[in-house]
């Protein structure tokens, strides 16, 4: 999200972008998804004895449409980038992917060696590391092409 605020792209090719130039699907999708995700998570974790089965799954799936909206916005933003900024994204993912792979493989082995407490090591705790590794990859890639 921060990246899209910093990086210019078509049709607004100036170096200073504002939130208004973001694709509406991303502009609305991100806050809606984040709000729904954390609200649902807090509610599900706070109500372990709440409604069972299908109802809980239905609640857990509530953020999904907003995530799809955000995904649409991200794809549209990618389409508006010029070739160098697409290259930056590619290099960021090329760094992030193996980092995530090693992280998950190591976690898998540790889990075999010693069962991990799902309250601390569930999927809901792991996905932020994926964003972190992408951010690190992005920082490296952007550094390479920064102004000189």
């Amino acid at each position: 999200m921060l990246y899209y605020r910093l990086v210019p792209a078509n049709p607004a090719m100036s170096d200073r972008r504002s939130l208004r130039t973001l694709h509406p699907a991303l502009l609305w999708g991100f806050p809606l998804w984040a709000t729904t995700y954390f609200a649902v998570r807090v509610w599900l974790e706070g109500n372990p004895g709440g409604p069972d089965g299908a109802a809980r799954v239905a609640v857990a799936l509530l953020p999904l449409p907003f995530f799809l909206l955000m995904l649409l916005g991200l794809i549209r933003e990618l389409g508006r980038m010029d070739e160098m900024h697409r290259r930056i994204q590619f290099e960021a993912l090329a760094i992030a992917f193996p980092v995530v792979l090693v992280f998950l493989m190591t976690l898998g082995l540790v889990e075999v060696a010693r069962p991990l407490d799902p309250r601390n090591w569930g999927f809901r705790h792991i996905w932020p590391f994926l964003i972190l590794s992408y951010s690190v990859g992005l920082a490296f890639a952007m550094r390479r092409y920064r102004d000189q």
């Binding site: 078509n10 090719m13 010029d82 102004d147």
Partner: protein
């Protein structure tokens, strides 16, 4: 890949931002091409050459064989 883009742009009195707008890319991309940190695609290289009115080999020089 060596390029004379900075010199050619200066000759025409264009800023990086102006050239970027004409090419439909970001100013950062123009800067990276000029400082030879980013090699443009063939399509963008041809657009640049067409814009400055020179053959592509007068704007960019590949590694010597």
């Amino acid at each position: 890949m060596k390029t004379r883009l900075k010199e050619l742009r200066a000759d025409r009195g264009w800023s990086q931002a102006e050239l970027a707008e004409r090419l439909g890319v970001s100013r950062q991309t123009v800067n990276s091409i000029e400082t030879e940190r980013y090699e443009p695609s063939l399509s963008l290289a041809f657009r640049i050459a067409r814009l400055v009115g020179l053959p592509i080999e007068d704007v960019f020089a590949g590694p010597e064989a």
